[in-house]
């Protein structure tokens, strides 16, 4: 276990490197995690690794005391009872509405002529809330794999997806039409651990904030 006595849920994938850097700065030895990308549980460091979208699940249940994940995940799982403590600043991405390049915008055309737009996404709740908040009717198509494929095949007129540089969108002949939100990495805590382990959690927050 680490010096804070906290079990930390760490996201694999794009956020992993900078998350481990941040934990290393707290004095937690992350060498073992970096050296081994198959093991999931690192008891000496108090680290459990998982998909970013699983982090709120583990933290809400108290299986991890604190965790790090993207704001996009927290927005999609907004019903989870976790405490959002700190914006870590890294992993900056934009949640955008995109459609096939060229004018007129096929999404706007669908709304103009049919009153409803079909939208593919891995973030059905964010997408649904966005269209609801802007008074437009959308048919949300949830996909698990590459969202970019959906508008190219005529499955949908638009997508809602996360983009860091926009390269994948461009390469698939898609263009950003609207920005929905900006997402960065966030530190979250279990609500009970936040009270019972207040000293350790405040120490982590204070040092990450100062870093």
């Amino acid at each position: 276990m680490n010096a804070f006595g906290l079990t930390i849920a760490v996201p694999r994938g794009a956020l992993l490197g900078e998350t481990l850097d941040a934990l290393q700065r707290l004095g937690i030895d992350t060498a073992e995690v970096r050296a081994n990308d198959r093991r999931l549980l690192f008891e000496d460091a108090g680290i459990v690794t998982m998909r970013p979208s699983d982090v709120p699940t583990y933290v809400e249940a108290g299986a991890a005391d604190i965790g790090i994940t993207g704001k996009d995940v927290l927005m999609e799982q907004s019903g989870r009872s976790v405490i959002e403590l700190l914006d870590l600043g890294y992993g900056r991405c934009r949640m955008v509405l995109a459609s096939v390049t060229g004018e007129p915008d096929p999404a706007a055309e669908a709304l103009r002529h049919l009153g409803v737009v079909r939208v593919a996404t891995k973030y059905p709740r964010i997408a649904a809330r966005f269209f609801e908040a802007t008074g437009r009717q959308a048919e949300i198509v949830e996909v698990k794999g590459s969202v970019e494929l959906a508008p190219l095949t005529g499955l949908v007129e638009a997508i809602v997806d996360l983009t860091a540089t926009g390269t994948t969108l461009r390469e698939n002949n898609l263009v950003i039409r609207e920005e929905i939100a900006v997402a960065t990495a966030r530190l979250i805590a279990n609500p009970v651990a936040h009270k019972l382990r207040a000293g350790a959690i405040d120490e982590v927050v204070g040092r990450l904030r100062g870093a």
Binding site: E60, G62, S81, E84, L85, P191, K195, L196, A198
Partner: protein
Amino acid sequence: MIHPIPSGTRDVLPDEMAELRAIIAALRGVFEARGYGEVYTPAIEYEDVLRHAGGAAPAYRVFDDHGEVLALRADMTAPIARLVGTRYPTAQPPLRFCYVAHAYRAVRPHRGQMREFLQAGIELIGAEGPDGTAEALTVLCASLDAAGLRDYRVGLGDAALYPALLGAFDLPEEARDRLLSELAAKDFVGLEREVGQLGLDAEDAALLARVPQMRGGPDVLQAPAGPVADAVAGLRSVLDRLAPDVAGRVIFDLGLARGLGYYTGAVFDVYDPSLGAPLGGGGRYDDLLGRFGRALPAVGFSLGVDRLHVALSGQERGGL
């Protein structure tokens, strides 16, 4: 052929029932020894009456044969407020009631939430501010001790604290609402962002962002004279009335906000290291009884008997 039961409901078999009965007996023993008479009210009431309390909205409704809308109660506080208004219109306060009864809430699918759950708790009606709150906390700790829970803590906050603090800064209504909604969502990043947009000087902004994150021992209540000291004065007077063993269980939490709408003052949550969510809680609802015809201050708590059972099992297995 399979005959299912709704998700969020369950059958209790004899082994579990025996364990639950032992817990309930311990809780009842404490409630009754301290003068709380047990009541039972209908599980199903007129929806209008339950909604009148303004707390958790009833989730399950039916039409009866006269077209009236009936609903399953979402907690016991609203029914007991109704009971006091109708059956004890002139009785000399304070009134002390306890209950062990099921309540019903809506669930989100696949989350292990219960639609039907057993609550045990008390309502202390007609006992004001710090004295009544201290009595409720004392009964709460005695109940948990009697049930055999060892490592629990009680988070104590004040539903009026942050609104009062905001009041000291003369903020526009919609700014206050935004801050309170970030706090209710437990999003301190969002709270800090909203505070940053108010155009306050750095010191005041830091104060508004920091205060709801303050929690810990009595030192949390040590604040220099000013809006924070005024806001925590109520909590300090509760602390002054607690016996050392009860005070030792309390974590002061200046950001504690419970979801239900009717709380007016002190609020509390019960935590145990073996559970990721509170196993019960309560607070003051000084305006609720007035809606049912008897304007009396009141305080109460409820414990989730099933959650208490889980915590006790976790404790026997040796913590986490």
